[in-house]
Amino acid sequence: MPVTPPNIEDVAAQWAVELSTSERTPELWAEFRKWLSRDPANIDAFLKMEEAWRALNHIGKLTEYPRNLGAGTSSQIDTKETSNSLTP
């Protein structure tokens, strides 16, 4: 059975998250650079995915969303409630 090569978007997302959430060890760097250098399309995919990852940083702004943007919103992000409910 032929092995399907990993989707470039999946790998790019994996790197965007991995590099932000893990310690950047020399081994991780080396592996990342190897993947980047393999194909310019990898670089393009990574940069776009990394931008989407950064866009999620602004999700914090949504704690103010219903108040700022008014009617029609169905829910509000309640970090306090989420935080409390998840506290062990």
């Binding site: 978007e9 999946d10 997302a13 994996q14 965007a16 998250v17 991995e18 590099l19 959430t21 893990s22 020399p26 760097w29 080396a30 990342f32 650079r33 980047l36 250098s37 310019p40 670089i43 393009d44 990574f46 940069l47 776009k48 995915m49 990394e50 931008e51 989407a52 990852w53 950064r54 866009a55 999620l56 940083n57 602004h58 999700i59 914090g60 702004k61 949504l62 704690t63 969303y65 700022n68 943007l69 919103t73 169905s74 829910s75 992000i77 970090t79 989420t82 935080s83 998840l86 506290t87 062990p88």
Partner: protein, 232 residues
């Protein structure tokens, strides 16, 4: 302790990183060709911004590599950005509205400069450069985050993305992005594997990217938005 600064040419600063990790206090030095005492002469504001700049190094290195196709030149690009930034006057630093936009533009410009210095342009690379996405060429490009901050429609879009994420994925995004927990801490809190946390974050990132792209929040749209904002 070995006080000789290892060479960095052409590689990521593994040796230099180890050397600097041994230094007390100042961790910025390992990213720069400065000695640690030179880094300590920078103002506090500049040091803070320099740390933010260093945090962007993966992006800047990727942009440089995409343009130069050369790891050594890309590393030189990073160094040049750091050195140029360290030499900026305080007033020039105050004029930077988005550090990311500044850094992306600097990476692109330095990469082209390095190509010229290495005399690899334009003949060798002209075919490659034709394929470069706007991302690398667009002078108007702005930090997506800054645009989100300024634009209500994009905030709505981000809210849509948030609402459509599965509940567990949503929790993980909140804990990571708002409460700034590490993936390990999130895994402990939720009683799930760290790998699951990362998988969920990848899912959220891919969904955000797909949604932003589908709605045209990409190079062209950002350019248009910026032009409209300038006219407004």
């Amino acid at each position: 302790m070995n006080s000789t600064v290892p060479t960095t040419t052409g590689i990521f600063p593994t040796a230099l990183q180890s050397w600097c990790a041994q230094q007390d206090g100042e961790r910025l030095g390992h990213r720069l060709r400065f000695r640690c005492n030179e880094v300590s002469r920078l103002s506090e504001t500049k040091k803070k911004l320099m740390r933010e700049l260093v945090a962007l190094e993966v992006t800047l290195y990727s942009i440089a590599l995409r343009i130069t196709r050369d790891e050594s030149l890309s590393w030189d690009v990073l160094q040049q950005i750091y050195e140029n930034f360290s030499k900026l006057s305080d007033s020039a630093i105050l004029a930077i509205k988005s550090l990311r936009a500044y850094a992306v533009a600097a990476a692109r410009n330095q990469a082209f400069l390095q190509l010229r210095v290495a005399k690899r342009c334009p003949i060798d690379f002209i075919e490659d450069l034709k394929d470069l996405p706007d991302y690398y060429l667009d002078d108007w490009r702005q930090d997506l985050g800054a645009v989100i901050e300024a634009d209500e429609a994009l905030t709505r879009l981000l809210f849509e993305i948030y609402e459509r994420l599965p509940p567990q994925c949503r929790k993980i995004v909140i804990l990571t992005k708002i409460l700034k927990l590490t993936s390990k801490e999130v895994s402990v809190r939720l009683g799930i594997a760290e790998r699951t946390v990362k998988n969920q974050l990848q899912l959220a990132t891919k969904y955000a990217k797909a949604t932003l792209n589908r709605r045209g929040v990409s190079q062209g749209a950002l350019l248009l938005l910026q032009l409209l904002q300038r006219k407004g």
